[in-house]
Symmetry: C2
Subunit: 323 residues, 2 copies
């Protein structure tokens, strides 16, 4: 039997700082309705989908940022989303800021069954940006202030989705640029990677000369390479458009295990894109070029887990002398 | 001072099985002359540049394949290449089949100074294909028969090149599809990756449904992602065209640390492409988005070195029960 699944990326346009969760949830419910009309069985919402991208706003006292976090899911405000999923029989991925009962804060995503059960939770590992207020930056990027590094690794689970068993995993935003994120999931035979992002169109670091026109290219490049090299599908969903004057690029995509883009959002607003995924396609890479058991050579990969930062290489003469 | 270097990929057209090394070397010397006229300071020749891609030919007794291997470098046949490098003051990268004095066989590349000194040697780690004759395949791919897995890791060295100190590393062909190869060198601050390849236009595995039109895309995707994610340049040089009826794709490229293609070969024959590399560009990625010391999280990467093959994930219910 063909293991076929209709996937959807539910891109969200901007959510302004002053807008409450009910605005975002209302828009997501409408995207759920559209997903139902378009036959989607899995819907992927972006990172931090319930609020504006608040890590651009500095708070000296982190307690003043508490209103950006969820302490329960579903909550009164998010219940309509869970109800829509149940009504339409759609599984969904949702990114949000999580505050745990014991006070830990994470940039989190969950994969929820149509029945409202949380089938998988992921907490962002690769937090970009910085911890303290940075006077050089025009716009702050305080993820390292507002979140702890995720403590769940990159888990993959075989989940029941629309009558199939599907190996699903998640990453969030900056994780997609790191081949390690993809490989750790590839080593668990992931078939579908769900990921949300809020990525500024302009890098406001102001220290380099990164070309702004390459920002979307870099995002797509990382996702397409990750899918190809790990023989999986990905649904990568943006929050897009201008939030309080700060522009986020859209270009949500659905990618197949050959690294091909199957569908792409072309607006900067709420937009649903869908693609039918034949999960059997994951077998090809996994059993041929990327048959890991046959071809990987961990004895040559030691540095990847043995060191964090890079180290300068020896000079040629020194290396020669050591021979 | 700007650390600028003119890089060249010296793509070779086909070398037929019946052709001797003197044919290949003569063509390479002409490419060296062209490289000199075009101002190149580093020239990268392909994998197994001295002979046809012999792993497509089966030999029951490997001793019958001995004539494909080099036991010394330079040798009488390869001396003219070293002489041309000296004459023009060009450093070069050469791929060849190596047989060591104690009988080991490797798919090897060296980086040679204009003075003829071997500044770095690499032996291919990711050998594709198979060890024994495979009756299903229309064309054999016997790299696992003819070569041992490289025993040098992915070394990087700071080498003197055209008045600069440059962190150089090498990979060969299939290595480029494996993000581990790139990362291990990125962790050594590699600035220039040199790689040669012999890649068939058609996958002759005959087990899957890989789209032949994606073969070049996959090659470029892997190289561009590797350069972007490790903030380095790459010169990727093909042996191209039809060897005894077997087609190899060309499309040699030079890529910058933003993952952009700076130059691309468009023929299937001998062709030299050049690009000027500002090595200072490597700093941007290394000090911002890909500041490894700040952002990498090896505690989440354990599987990359702890396991070779992939493992199936737990079923959702089991995972839930384990919580």
């Amino acid at each position: 039997m063909t293991r076929s699944l209709v996937l959807a990326a539910a891109q969200l346009g901007p959510i302004q700082k002053a807008e409450g969760r009910e605005v975002a949830v209302g828009r997501m419910v409408r995207l759920m309705e559209k997903a139902h009309r378009m036959g989607a069985e899995v819907v992927v919402f972006p990172e931090l989908a319930l609020t504006t991208f608040f890590p651009r706003w500095y708070e000296e006292d982190i307690a003043n940022a508490d209103h950006w976090y969820e302490t329960a899911l579903p909550s009164n405000e998010t219940a309509p989303l869970f109800e829509a999923a149940r009504k339409y029989g759609i599984a969904f991925h949702l990114g949000y800021a999580e505050k745990t009962p014991d006070g830990h804060r994470y940039n989190t995503a969950v994969f929820v069954s149509p029945g409202g059960e949380i089938m998988l939770k992921y907490r962002k590992v690769h937090l970009p940006g910085h911890k303290d207020y940075d006077p050089i930056r025009k716009v702050q990027h305080l993820e390292k202030r507002y979140f702890e590094v995720g403590d769940l690794g990159f888990p993959v689970v075989r989940a029941p989705v629309a009558g199939h068993e599907v190996n699903v995993g998640m990453m969030i935003c900056n994780d997609r640029r790191w081949p390690e994120s993809w490989r750790v999931m590839g080593l668990q035979q992931v078939e579908l990677v769900m990921l949300g992002y809020n990525t500024p169109s302009l890098n406001m670091d102001n220290r380099g000369f990164e070309a702004h026109h390459l920002r979307v290219f870099h995002s797509h490049l990382s996702i397409q390479a990750g899918c190809y090299q790990n023989a999986c599908f990905a649904v990568a969903t943006a929050k897009a458009g201008t939030e309080d004057g700060h522009e986020l690029f859209g270009h949500s995509i659905i990618v197949n295990p050959q690294g091909e883009i199957m569908a792409q959002a072309t607006s900067w607003g709420d937009e649903l894109i869908v693609a039918e995924a034949d999960l059997g396609m994951c077998e090809l890479g996994r059993t041929t070029i990327f048959n890991f058991a046959k071809h990987r050579r961990p004895e040559a990969y030691g540095r990847i887990t043995a060191q964090v930062g890079s180290e300068p290489p020896p000079a040629w003469n020194a290396a020669r002398a050591a021979e």
